[in-house]
Symmetry: none
Subunit: 211 residues, 4 copies
Amino acid sequence: MNVAKELTSRQKGAIETRKKILEAARKAILEKGFDKVSVSDIAKEAGVATGSFYTYFKKKEDIIEELNKTDFSRLAEIVNQMKGKSVIEKLDNYCRVFMKAVERSGLEICRQWLRNHIASASTSLENSGITKYQGDILAMKSVLNEAIRQGQLREDTPVEELAFLINSQLYGFMLIWCMTDGEVAGSGQTKNYCQYILKNSVQPYIPSAPQ
Amino acid sequence: MNVAKELTSRQKGAIETRKKILEAARKAILEKGFDKVSVSDIAKEAGVATGSFYTYFKKKEDIIEELNKTDFSRLAEIVNQMKGKSVIEKLDNYCRVFMKAVERSGLEICRQWLRNHIASASTSLENSGITKYQGDILAMKSVLNEAIRQGQLREDTPVEELAFLINSQLYGFMLIWCMTDGEVAGSGQTKNYCQYILKNSVQPYIPSAPQ
Amino acid sequence: MNVAKELTSRQKGAIETRKKILEAARKAILEKGFDKVSVSDIAKEAGVATGSFYTYFKKKEDIIEELNKTDFSRLAEIVNQMKGKSVIEKLDNYCRVFMKAVERSGLEICRQWLRNHIASASTSLENSGITKYQGDILAMKSVLNEAIRQGQLREDTPVEELAFLINSQLYGFMLIWCMTDGEVAGSGQTKNYCQYILKNSVQPYIPSAPQ
Amino acid sequence: MNVAKELTSRQKGAIETRKKILEAARKAILEKGFDKVSVSDIAKEAGVATGSFYTYFKKKEDIIEELNKTDFSRLAEIVNQMKGKSVIEKLDNYCRVFMKAVERSGLEICRQWLRNHIASASTSLENSGITKYQGDILAMKSVLNEAIRQGQLREDTPVEELAFLINSQLYGFMLIWCMTDGEVAGSGQTKNYCQYILKNSVQPYIPSAPQ
DNA sequence: GATGAATGAGCGTTCATTCAT
DNA sequence: GATGAATGAACGCTCATTCAT
């Protein structure tokens, strides 16, 4: 009915409410931790009725997914905006941005996100399609494949394996970051390691250029 | 405070009860996590009435204080039994044993372990002592330091960084293994990657071999 | 109340909407039962907004009033297509068809049907008209009466009682079939019993045959 | 610790509370129907705190099981106290008592009981052992077997089939009784039918008595 | 007339804590 | 000291109903 450009004031209000709930949730979870925050806490903080939470989110847990999505939404874009750079630079940047996003989401939200996704697939979110893990792998692979097309990597680069390797390293950093209350593996600490891994792991596949 | 030589049988029984509650709490909390364990769970496990918990602890949280005197020591032993091997072999073995142990524990136990250790410090067990993470890092460092002493690695090997790096990779494998219902990153799949990482990460610091 | 010849398109639309809601409600309530169907379920099924329900009905319950004008007529046809057969054969066939129909509907549908019809009259569908139970009794009675007219049964056959008896047996089979996950009282098992009952119950009223 | 004869006042109080809750539940469910009664309604009626309901019953549904058990508890005993009577009398009595128990439990409780047991076995009660259906079959079979031992029935009596047949008839009565708001198939109406079924079904297996 | 976001009371259930015995 | 029945606030979540647009 709409040409999807102009929003009715109803729609704008709904988006606003959704945003208010998300920000209230972020604030409350950051302060007290997911388990200690009740849905009505969040609703109160957002200035809406308890039931309104469920207008926008099916389950309490779902808010974590949403907060995570917000934090990581810029990831893909960043990669796509580095056309001129070398593979190492692209991947290095990817890793930095990833860890920055982890940090920005905050300890409690990251923890809850992990808890949600550790759960067996069947009991977790709808799984209607692709998981965050699969998404991350795909993003990484697309960077590597792009690099192959541009001649930055050899044709026989083991894309699958490298994507898995780098990604598992990042997941490890994320996990340790949560386990140590943010004291170990923060973006500040990991950027050196990122470069180190990348140099050692990817360079064997860079064609002639004596990097 | 007491002259403390002879205890009445009532006092002895009390000490016994207290100990039973503590052990039951340790077991239950390690299995399910502090928040998910109820006082009556602990009491049932200990074989006492729910109310008896409150004879010894004013609040549920108080039990955490008592439990933070954890004994520790685990994987280090494996390492110490490989005197004759090369660093790469030692580390490779460490990684294999680690992932095998992960697999042997089973998906659900591994998941629960992750959930427990992701938890924020305040509600977690063993946080005033040494954490599993710290223990793992120490074990890895001792392997590397031993190798330096034996001349298998150069003096300037960045022990701290390598230990962190390898360990975070293993944690990443473990996390992904849980997230994919055991379909990705099992020990079968990861052993090649372990060698690959180790070769790329550690070999630069092996003295003679001209990288 | 209106001169009621020409309707504005708005009025025509309103009548249409009302009809859609009624049909959606009938379908949903038959499937899930009144209590388990929410107003928004009905609205969704009808393809209108939740609020629109309240344009036509003041309260959720009001829809029941409207739905109680049920069309009816089902099993009777089967019976009427067996003109040449004996009473026993007719009834036997009725019982087989009944249990086959039960089985064909499937466990879950049969269960839901039972739940719906067990429900107290106030919340049940089709309660001011004729119930399924009454329909089944009527069908059975018409078979018996027809048989009397044709001289297949004696004039003093207790039609009412026999109809009730046979029907309650069939309902009992149906119930047990659901309660045992389809393992007991399926059509395969019951057909022998059907004949057995019929022989024992009906034959005393068959004129000549000196049982 | 107790020799199970003398009850402490604590235990007596608990039994009293349990009884209060059961009677409050019976009253409330009879008045309003299971779905319309909340656990806190029951607790209020019983004069206890909401949570106390869960001291005695794991789920709201469980109260139905309990009420049913009370109503049917005398069934087995009655049968066992009729040593001198004929098979027909015993079974006739069983059927009467069964339907009386159905009636005594009340429409709403009987309905809820049916709803609970129609559900697929896996989602229903614990099933740790024998279902009500199986229990009823066993009771009926024991009556028949006893009669065989006493020479009241022939050795070749199809015990299994008869037990199934009679029991399914009773279940059918129960179902119809609920479906017709207690207007059809009450104990007053069914007792004649019970005798009729029994005479027709069981008598062929009575040894000497000249059919 | 139609919409659907917003409401808030109410649901079944859990559990830390108390206290009479 | 030990008990376990009793408490009642709080939880996540549902849904009939309202009303500004």
